[in-house]
Symmetry: C2
Subunit: 390 residues, 2 copies
Amino acid sequence: MINNFYYHTPTELVFGKDVINYLPEVIKRYGKNVLLTYGGGSIKKIGLYDKIKELLKDFNVIELAGIEPNPKYETSVVEGARLCKEHHIDVILAVGGGSVVDCSKAISVCAKYDGEGWDLISGKVKAKESIPLVDILTLSATGSEYDSGCVITNISKNDKRGYMDDIMFPKVSLLDPTYTFSVNKWQTACGTADAINHLLEQYFAYPNNSFNDGLLIEGMKTLMKNVKIALEESNNYDARSELMYLCTLACNGILSNGSGSSGWPMHSIEHALSGYFDITHGAGLAIITPRWMKEILSNRTLERFVTLGIRLFEFDSNMDKEEMANKVIDNFYQFFLSIGIPMHLKELGVDENRIEEMAKHILQHDSTLGEFMYVELDEAALIRILKTSM
Amino acid sequence: MINNFYYHTPTELVFGKDVINYLPEVIKRYGKNVLLTYGGGSIKKIGLYDKIKELLKDFNVIELAGIEPNPKYETSVVEGARLCKEHHIDVILAVGGGSVVDCSKAISVCAKYDGEGWDLISGKVKAKESIPLVDILTLSATGSEYDSGCVITNISKNDKRGYMDDIMFPKVSLLDPTYTFSVNKWQTACGTADAINHLLEQYFAYPNNSFNDGLLIEGMKTLMKNVKIALEESNNYDARSELMYLCTLACNGILSNGSGSSGWPMHSIEHALSGYFDITHGAGLAIITPRWMKEILSNRTLERFVTLGIRLFEFDSNMDKEEMANKVIDNFYQFFLSIGIPMHLKELGVDENRIEEMAKHILQHDSTLGEFMYVELDEAALIRILKTSM
């Protein structure tokens, strides 16, 4: 059965080598004044920055550089919104990974709002307007290029928020897999882990249906196979293109329409971790995944694990179900380990003494923990997941 | 590998029982003057017409009734465009199946064009503007509710044309499976056959990739399973909802992005058949399918059939490949037969004496025969496919 759903993604996807050549004609639709946003400068190393400046030589390009991973409200968002107002920006061009795109989405609404931007991001006020956003992706991971959400951290409030609004969908996402050739092993592994986790969060939605199971599992298979190739051979176009496309689809919803409401419990937990300790999002998710699975494994969820066992890992369907479920969990653990993610939070600098505080924070601040999920997580459960993840 | 692609579907999907209640708020976005388009009156039988009139009591509703299957340019499209101009229509509300939605798309552009509308549909002139289109679907079949194409027949020119343009995407598609409860067995079978064929045409695109194979095959499985249930039990919501969602996705492209260019060879052939003999589109496609498969089966396509054998029909992977390919073809034949489609064109009134003429017509008029396909079809091949389909 297909459950009731609303689905809408107006973003244009332009995928393939050299699609950047469409940039001037895309930008021209929106105006002359461009805010170019990017991160730590890797786009300069790979020659992308120069290429963009050349392509946009007839436009007025203002720059916001240095957007950090886990982008911060107080610095990047506020500064970007200020630049937009000052320079009458017509269109934002985000060049980078999920953090740059997320930050640019937040800027796109804050720039059109006269009050305190955090009121929009925290959901206190509904945004009415946004500046059009175009992106050039350089990292396959979050799927922000094909959704309407962003995750922004407010350092002074110790608060990392997911914020969604249809007016933040990018207008156009230019997806050239060759821009991900230079992504290092750590970022490649963590980006893929992020996307796998997106598929898993949707897979564990309740109720599910067999069609969506199929789509989500095909997605996981494709990611798990291709990340290994990309880690061996960084410039492998085939593998990089499949990673890029799958990461783009993984957070969009098209693979799970009609599957009932899915919470984002692992994301909720991870947002606390990276909010407190600024760890890499995908690594945090990978580490939590098998521990969260152990926590929710019960008679109610057993069949979900069995389906993963048979359809994703091709286990013998005659295997004892509980044994299979545990093997599924172990396979995810071993898979993440095999792509280079240390599977213990302490290796990323997380302090065990703050677990109780984080558990409380998650329950207070995060509404995506999943009231519709198979298993509701209380404080004790959160503490167990975090402790076993150490 | 993901091949270069462009993908864009801005249509909002609103899916589920009673979503019609959103109608006033959806229509209000576009204006006061509504052209309500529908077919032969089945929407009156199921009470949908009255419900719509009640919901739109504060709007000016002009009606275009009697849109026929294989909608005709000279009657429905021209008349619809005339009504739009005369009544300053702000939004078209199409209520029905693919024919009504297709016809309404053609109306939406012809109404904003001062010249001869057929110049748009035949591709001579590019449309610049369209009237917003909203639809309420009552038949799961063509997927027109989620694509930018329409198929229109020009009787005086004996010409059935596929016409696509991004400005014809519906703004909103309201998808309530309960409106398909009363669809009879013949239309249920033919609608599903249409959607299965859409998936097959994309599956046989070249080059393919394993991820898209997975999505398309999951789609076929879901359709083949649920049509049997819906034929047994017309009011089965689960089955009707899966048919409705899958038909909506099947022609959209989201299941085959990155799979290389796909021709629509079976559709090309069928368009001639229904252009000449006004047969039901899905039935024509079902009859052609196994004969087309026989024609293209060769060393070059063998593996495509084997993948279908293993992943769709779960044949033993050790089976001889050629044997498996033939079994796949036979399975499709038997499947279509089992859902009530007579598997010979003569049973639908097609005259064998006009096969040569139709073959010539297809080659002259239809550019979607598939130059990028595995196997190019010449006149002799078309004649063989049509003759064996008799």
